[in-house]
Symmetry: C6
Subunit: 71 residues, 6 copies
């Protein structure tokens, strides 16, 4: 799993920071076909951590994400 | 997710910049088989952000893209 | 298999360290669709090693992990 | 998507340059199972751009290619 | 295929060295769903080489491994 | 596609060089499930080039290889 470039000047990193701030509900579609839904708690180089509607923490490796979109 | 080489002298990066400028409708085929359609809003090292026909923003990780073609 | 950034200041690395300490039972969903369950014994740049309910050690490459969540 | 090593002394890079020059029709088999056919227009670190039999440009990320062979 | 970090101080690298020494029979589950069984002959940055029960050498790219476990 | 470490002291690189010299018939199993058979013509950081039984050249990206074994 390559390290993401965690450069806060990148639009993609800033967009994730904004989703954390706004507590937006987001759909995360993964490379294995899984679809997860939850609010973004934190992100780092390797992962994002979301909280789903049953208040469970799920840590997703960024390497596994195909795309995400606010619900 | 490895960092793309974001070197604006590369044809592939310039091509994406042109698609943003032209507001071209593009099909994005992903490694998990998903097919997304939308206009390119922005790109950075890690991702492209598209707007679909229902005006929803979808952020796609470049690592997940198989190929893209203007519609 | 790219090397994870093994930087103990990263939340994702610290979270895994905490799971080791707490001996938490965790579900590991992989990019090939496999779902493994076990307690985390150790982690390094490349892998995590879990112990399942039949006390078997399974070494998972971090490159293969989609997401994980405490049971 | 890791950056290819774009070193024109590499046989694989030179082979692609030759396919551009010869305007050879090539089959591109991708990691998601897709099979594309087209002549190679250009290549860079990240991508190859092909033109198919309906004269459409398709930009393929090198990360997604399993193998290619002249038709 | 990214280079593994081949640092013999890493638990995962040492564990593979131990499996070589002990001539342990190991199951290797790959990202494409294949399941291979064999004893580990050698490892390097890129690959592991196993010998199966018909004494055939199979060289597995580390990039393709999901997980492994002693039988 | 990450660059392989092309270090001729690595057993995996030397093994491929030997397969070229011996003109061995090899089975190549890929991450998308494809199985190709052919003799190895050349290798570099990014790819291997094989010649199949109909004398066709097929260039395989090393990133796509799960494993290989002499027939």
């Amino acid at each position: 799993m390559a390290t993401t470039e965690f450069n806060t000047s990148l639009p993609s990193i800033r967009q994730l920071q904004e989703l954390i701030k706004q507590k937006t509900l987001v759909e995360w579609k993964l490379l294995n076909g899984d679809l997860l839904t939850g609010k973004l708690a934190w992100q780092d180089n390797n992962c994002v951590c979301i909280v789903d509607d049953r208040n469970r923490q799920i840590t997703i490796f960024k390497q596994a994400i195909a795309y995400y979109q606010p619900k």
